[in-house]
């Protein structure tokens, strides 16, 4: 068994990390909801214009007019953070979408067809897997220039192997079990057969993987923006805010604390959600409580 | 009296898996505990050793050496386990540590209770492997469990259990996981060793012929309670309780007629 498969097995069999799963799910969902709400609200209203430079207000402390203070250009921290949440979610959604849209079909083909196609796809996946998201983004940024699109694409591509492998693994289990069904349904056509029979049974795995990939995508985007390879000015991005804040770390540490906290909270939200969903959607639980699919 | 069990109860949730079990084991006794799966026989054995899984409540008394084992602290229990009371489990493949050589695993018991050094314990382990009739004990002791057959693994377990010369050996379904052809050999080994060492034996099984060959006394357990007890021959030839009768009737004739231990 390949070592990565072993890791996945450990991960999938692991009892949830000691936290009561319902509470985890709730907390995660709440945090995610919070971010989404903030992002949506930011389209309609922010306390100040996040890009408005106002040098007389530079490096102001938290107060009545600027809730968390201002940065070195007098821009309101809260407004920047609110708009930054848009970037965070946007990159996450697109990256995960890319990963799923490319990875799941690849994994499905590998599982259904087996043989040399399976080998080739998995070997290619291993190669791509050797490029963690940030490395992939560095490569693409060097080649095609930095920016949000490059970042999203790079992160998305780097997660394709994970989804391919997870889809393949979960599909194999289903195909083995419902082999008779699949064989009979071959008259229907393999694609329809897969979508109608296999996909619903593996969807819970994909959802969980998706939320976790989302969390990792947020981290990757933040790192890239920090390095200057991600979202470019003037679009606010939490990662870039941290880069700028580092210069003023002795004068105003809060400039670095708040965006960092925002990142951590978002990532925490999605990973708690993923963990909670893993337990909630576990078919073993479902059989006990809700009845057969 | 070596071991006295008084009104033992093991409760899981609200269900009493072992419900008021009492029996005695005298020195030199060979007691069989018969029951089907779910009767509570394994839980009884684990309760004696203090090795029940978490989440179960135990009540009653288990008297050994003037102490109630159920109330003894972990340190004193550890001194008894492996040294005075030993246990052999059902699945030798999973019961042995897969990444440790079998000789080392046997030697470990000696090093815990007899403070032997590595070489002495290792040599003694080889000796023990000889006693349980493992051929080429010297090199076999350096093997890993997966390199041995099922029967050999069980012999290793027995060697481990008898290493310190315990007063009581509890054997929980020692032959159930083995091939039929191998079972007889293990039983003969147990029989011989128990007699040679003068160890008392509590043999737990659902397999009546096994009890017939080794045990002098037997208890029949059903749904957490003991429904019948007595000398093996009496049990087999004149079963009183309807459940016992059903068990006996389920045995093939040729086994029944082979006779009992005493």
């Amino acid at each position: 068994m390949s070592d990565v498969a072993i890791v996945e097995q450990i991960e999938s069999e692991a009892p949830s990390a000691g936290l009561p799963s319902r509470r985890t799910l709730l907390l995660g969902a709440l945090l995610v909801l919070l971010i989404i709400v903030v992002a949506l609200v930011s389209f309609v209203w922010t306390p100040h214009d996040p890009t408005l430079v106002s040098l007389q207000d530079r490096l102001a402390g938290p107060g009545s007019s600027f809730l968390l203070g201002t940065d070195q250009y007098g821009r309101d921290l809260v407004s920047q953070m609110m708009v930054g949440s848009r970037t965070t979610l946007f990159v996450g959604i697109i990256a995960v979408a890319i990963a799923i849209c490319v990875g799941v079909p690849l994994g499905a083909v590998a599982a259904v067809r087996r043989g040399w196609l399976d080998e080739v796809i998995m070997r290619l996946a291993d190669v791509v897997f050797a490029f963690p998201a940030v490395l992939m983004a560095i490569l693409l940024a060097a080649g095609f220039g930095g920016g949000t699109v490059t970042a999203m694409t790079a992160i998305g591509i780097s997660y394709v192997p994970v989804f391919a492998r997870v889809t393949r693994g979960a599909s194999l289990q289903i195909l083995e079990r419902e082999f008779v069904l699949a064989a009979r349904a071959y008259a229907v056509g393999p694609v329809k057969n897969f979508v109608r029979h296999v996909l619903p049974n593996i969807s819970h795995v994909l959802i969980v993987q998706g939320t976790i990939a989302f969390a990792l995508a947020i981290l990757a985007e933040a790192a890239l923006s920090y390095l200057g390879l991600g979202t470019q000015p003037p679009t606010p991005s939490w990662g870039r805010m941290l880069r700028e804040a580092q210069t003023y770390i002795s004068l105003a540490p809060r400039l670095a604390i708040w965006p960092g906290l925002a990142i951590a909270v978002s990532v925490l939200g999605f990973s708690l959600l993923g963990d909670g969903l893993r337990d909630a959607l576990d078919p073993k639980f479902a059989e006990r409580g809700k009845g057969p699919r | 009296m070596l071991l006295t069990v008084e009104d033992l109860r093991v409760v899981i949730g609200r269900h009493a898996a072992v419900d008021g079990v009492s029996f005695e084991i005298a020195s030199g006794d060979r007691l069989g505990l018969i029951g089907e799966s779910g009767s509570g026989k394994t839980l009884t054995a684990l309760a004696l050793m203090g090795l029940l899984p978490d989440g179960m409540r135990v009540e009653g008394r288990v008297l050994y050496g003037g102490n109630n084992l159920l109330e003894l602290d972990e340190e004193r229990l550890c001194a008894i386990r492996g040294d005075r009371i030993s246990m052999v489990f059902q699945e030798p493949m999973t019961a042995l540590n897969p990444v440790m050589r079998v000789g080392d695993q046997i030697a470990e018991v000696l090093r815990i209770h007899r403070s032997m050094d590595k070489e002495a314990a290792g040599a003694e382990a080889v000796e023990l492997l000889n006693r349980v009739q493992i051929i080429d004990a010297g090199s076999r002791s350096r093997s890993y469990p997966h390199q041995l057959s099922g029967g050999q693994r069980q012999r290793v377990m027995i060697a481990m259990a008898l290493a310190c010369g315990p007063d009581l050996l509890i054997a929980d379904e020692p032959t159930t996981a083995l091939d039929v052809t191998v079972q007889a050999g293990i039983l003969r080994l147990l029989n011989r060793l128990v007699e040679e060492e003068g160890v008392s034996l509590l043999l737990i099984t659902h397999d009546l012929p096994v009890v017939a060959t080794i045990c002098t006394q037997a208890l029949v357990m059903h749904e957490g309670k003991i429904v019948e007890r007595g000398p093996t021959s009496a049990l087999f030839h004149q079963p009183q309780h309807p459940y016992t009768r059903r068990l006996i009737d389920a045995m093939p004739d040729y086994v029944r007629s082979r006779g009992t231990a005493r």
Partner: protein, 315 residues
Amino acid sequence: MALYVLRRLAIFVVSLFIASIFVFLVLSVLPGDPAQVILGLQATPESLSQLRRELGLDAPLWSQYLRWAGGMVRGDFGTSYISRVPIGPEITQRLLVTIPLALLGMTFALLIAVPAGVLAASRHRTKVDTFISAFTQTGIAIPAFWAGIMLIALFSVKLGWFPAGGFTSWQDAPLSAIRSLLLPAVSLALVQGAILTRYVRSTVVEITREDFIRTARAKGLTRSAALWRHGLRNASIPLVTVAGLQFAYLLVGAVVIENVFFLPGLGRMVLQAIGNRDLLAVQGIVIVLTGIVLAVNFLVDISYRFLDPRLRPSG
């Protein structure tokens, strides 16, 4: 066994080959022209084409690739168009910062993860377990580079115990060099430690349920002694695997962290190269990093076979 090693080695080589093609393609399919970048906008067409011929840029793509790959096999990473400095030696210099940083980070991570994971597993489902699990959840959510900035704020700016950045060379002042790596390594270790703690914990919990732990206790070992003496031995096998696989992420984390602490490693080099449009340098750096990741995966694969006696050939 030898066959298995050879097979994994072949996979490693092929993967590296495919990766190098991928890297080369990405960095050569873009609209920029290195000759233009070097000579500037005023350059004449003749000088441009002459420079292109010199740099071998007029050759077909596959030939350019072979030149680059062939050079790398011999250890020659080419000379940067921009800085006119050979890339290979520069990379080697920088590796001497990045690799120790990554290794130090992994060491600290394991020092955190093993005790924490075992503690959480042995106090399974108690408050201690929940507490530790909460910690790991937060640890995983924190960006390593943010942790670095926070550590700078606390330990460098406020307390002045550690330098906020920079690096003295290994030859000149080795102790000072280690001191410069400490905060960066801790930043990395906080995140990796959290990840590894979860693996340790779940592995140990699984093992606690195993039969041989019960046998160990039946022999007279206390619960914790049984776990340590028997459980850990079994747990270390998948743990080595996980740690090895995580090394890729740790390496990339080091690349990012170097930019927080201004360490002269590969991370800073690649960022500067991107800024200078020094694509040949980026090529070399990326393939080196990928090569290290693939090599570590290869070693982990082999070691797994070695560590687990069940997978070794008989004897």
